[in-house]
Symmetry: C2
Subunit: 158 residues, 2 copies
Amino acid sequence: MAPIPVDRDALGMQRAFEEADAGAKEGGIPIGSALVQHDDSGDHLIASGRNLRIQKGSATLHGEICCLETAGRLKADVYRKCTIYTTLSPCIMCTGAILLYKIPRVVIGENVNFVGGEELLKKNGVEVVVLDDSRCKELMAKFIKEKPEEWNEDIGDE
Amino acid sequence: MAPIPVDRDALGMQRAFEEADAGAKEGGIPIGSALVQHDDSGDHLIASGRNLRIQKGSATLHGEICCLETAGRLKADVYRKCTIYTTLSPCIMCTGAILLYKIPRVVIGENVNFVGGEELLKKNGVEVVVLDDSRCKELMAKFIKEKPEEWNEDIGDE
């Protein structure tokens, strides 16, 4: 895949952030994601999604999983032309989903509030970009402070 | 967690196999899973699930993910008393889900047709038991032979 300029990443992260923000307004865990395909004609949003633990009583619909689920059934070659955007460093489940589908590029809003499987992604040849986005950081920090129990449940901590 | 006798594992695997078999009869990818909690009063089935790629057009409902989703929201300490049963060696996404929730024990029907993240599980202290179950092997081998494209899609291969 040809290098993707960082300014184009702003659009993907904007969509992921809008999902996170919508989640916050629903009383959910504010993490969002977007899957964008790159080809010669430009960038195409395939799907976006957000953490739905609270809204749907879900144990697996993290932002990235929700995004991939919303995207539906895709052939392997589609994933390989994509960047997945996520407002927060992906947990090990979402890391595994990215590796399963061999998505070559992950753009992360922030990894201050949580660090997931970034090293495992890199070790497997995935390009990892961290934008250190202040909106993402503030939204997540506020949630963790206000609802530590829901956050711990989401990452399997006691 | 105290050691679990292998004969008790037969019950968990039976449930996982029934899910896989039901999936096959629906025209789905025949992989099933069950989550069983162990405590002083015995073994308790929390949930079971099966791969729903074909049935629901799902990219993320692998057997184990479906099982965890069906189980719903659980506190961290529940997962830590569980075994997850799966008819086939768990892919890297399902491996990640097991690691996220720190499920300490994974019992696998077979790893002849596919080997997933077993080494990563072991490296993280998860007990991995492979039963080498002939029913699981036969069901999966038949599916892969008959529908190689659906199988490749499920594991992100071309």
